[in-house]
């Protein structure tokens, strides 16, 4: 099972990349733990999480080919 993780805005300053693939991650909590270890800086940041372009508000089970995006506060306009 393959998951795509996307980073935007301020977060890309910390991750140094905007996209990565991860495998065998059962839910968003596990995914966030993984990311926090890989990029400790993101623990100090506020962001929302979207799965397949829909913002989630609680831990969600992941399935193959899901796209998980980490979104800092929007600042368009």
């Amino acid at each position: 099972m393959e998951i795509i993780v996307l980073f935007f805005g301020h977060l890309t300053d910390i991750t140094g990349e905007s996209k990565l693939k991860i495998w065998d991650t059962k839910d968003t909590n596990e995914l966030i733990n993984l990311m926090s270890k890989k990029y400790p800086g993101i623990n100090d940041m506020k962001y929302s999480i979207a799965i397949n372009k829909v913002i989630i508000h609680e831990n969600c089970i992941l399935k193959d080919a899901d796209v998980v995006a980490l979104l800092p506060a929007f600042s368009g306009g």
Binding site: L6, F8, G9, A50, A73, F74, S75, G77
Partner: protein, 143 residues
């Protein structure tokens, strides 16, 4: 789905062309337009010379579409157009163009205002304020 994103600044000519197209829709009585212009804010003694916009484009386009649908359901609108810049927009240039049209002013004005708030709060777009020199800061939207 309607094209929303424009590479670079939105030109005044683009805006007037858009206005001119509505002269054939003779049941329109009121247009309300909002334009966001890049401000040369001063932070820590440095000046913002441009904003570089990026977006989660696929999600933003879906969101724009959804907001548009909601607006047409809520207000008696004849037309609703939204354009937002991607990439670099210099201070003094326009990065957001919201355009609502209705038979009467109340609907057009209210829909335009609500649309602007929704774009600022609900659409995954980010602005990076570029200062003189190499410095930058990620933009924060005020309420």
């Amino acid at each position: 789905m309607k094209k929303v994103f424009i590479e670079g600044a939105i030109s005044p000519t683009f805006i007037s062309d858009s206005i001119a197209k509505h002269s054939l829709k003779k049941d329109i009585g009121a247009h309300s337009i909002f334009l966001g212009q890049v401000r040369n804010d001063h932070l820590r003694g440095k000046e913002v010379v441009a904003i570089e916009y990026s977006a989660y484009q696929e999600m933003a386009e879906e969101k724009f579409h959804e907001i548009r649908e909601n607006m047409f359901a809520k207000y008696q609108l004849n037309c609703l157009h939204i354009y937002h810049s991607l990439g670099k927009v210099n201070a003094g240039e326009i990065s957001l163009f919201v355009f609502t049209s209705s038979a009467h002013r109340k609907e057009a004005i209210e829909a335009c205002q609500e649309m602007v708030e929704k774009i600022k709060n609900e659409v995954p777009i980010w602005g990076k304020e570029l200062f003189t020199g190499e410095d930058y800061e990620w933009k924060i939207n005020k309420l």
